[in-house]
Symmetry: C2
Subunit: 166 residues, 2 copies
């Protein structure tokens, strides 16, 4: 049986240049403006956040399709099929997304960030500081991505960095 239902609420809105398509993952090098606009009642919660270089942004992947299979084929890894929990696919049992972004500046209830791989208007659910000792796992690996022919090339796709195909 599926467990209990939990209600969360949008606490702000993510503004990006992506209205029709979004990259697979954040592009730090991207051009355009990326902002998080918090609902006014939460603004005091930003106190101290600007001291951090990075933060986690947790959001509702509001334009994702309903999940139909537990197996997904990441668009950048042609032909590979993996379980949804071994992927960062936006189509998941719960449409929750996580991105790590650089904090550029905070003005009032707006946080200017590095590239965020979401559609304009994405509902914000939470912000947490990315803390070096807690979140950097230097011995992390690449999982099944290591099987790919050209790992480096694929890594660019994962990161969503624009590059030539030659």
């Amino acid at each position: 049986m599926t467990g209990s239902s939990i209600q969360v609420r949008s606490i702000g809105t993510i503004r990006t240049p992506y209205t029709e398509s979004a990259p697979y993952q954040p592009l730090e090098e991207d051009e355009g403006e990326f902002r998080i606009v918090l609902e006014p009642e939460y603004v005091n919660g930003l106190e101290g956040l600007s001291r951090f270089r990075y933060m986690y942004v947790i959001y509702h992947v509001h334009r994702a399709q309903e999940i139909r299979s537990m197996i997904v084929s990441p668009p950048w890894a042609e032909g590979v099929e993996v379980g949804v929990f071994a992927s960062r696919s936006p189509v998941r049992p719960n449409p929750l997304g996580i991105s790590i972004v650089k904090i550029i500046k905070i003005e009032g209830r707006e946080i200017h960030t590095s590239g965020l791989d979401v559609f304009d208007g994405t509902p914000l659910l939470d912000i947490k500081p990315y803390i070096k000792d807690l979140d950097v796992k230097s011995d992390a690996n690449y999982g099944w991505i290591d099987d790919m022919d050209d790992k480096k090339h694929l890594t660019l796709h994962i990161k969503g960095i624009p590059h030539d195909h030659h």
Copy 2:
């Protein structure tokens, strides 16, 4: 105004030794068993996950109090007051928790993991692979934690590692 309400559902249960108190953050060195038990309908989503060394666990902090203030005082940082979004406090506008854990082994619908800083019975919302290139930010910092007198000592508290006070 507060934005729209979003419904998510529990897709499994986190089993830990913590029934009365939980550490502030995961303890890799902790003794005891840490398991994630997925609801049977999602088991195919685990395909390929065991190739990764680490994963994100996203969960409902079901025993957290209701948030009353946007300013929090982390229990390990006596007297410091920061905004909730500059903290990893379990008491937040949306009770969503994220932990990074080591994947020890996957058997059927059970994932054995390193220490997980949550109460036994915590509802699971999502699992995502921790991918080295995407999630390791080597130039991350410590934010306001750098202001503390004895950063190293406090870092132990953040990590929840048991240690002597002398």
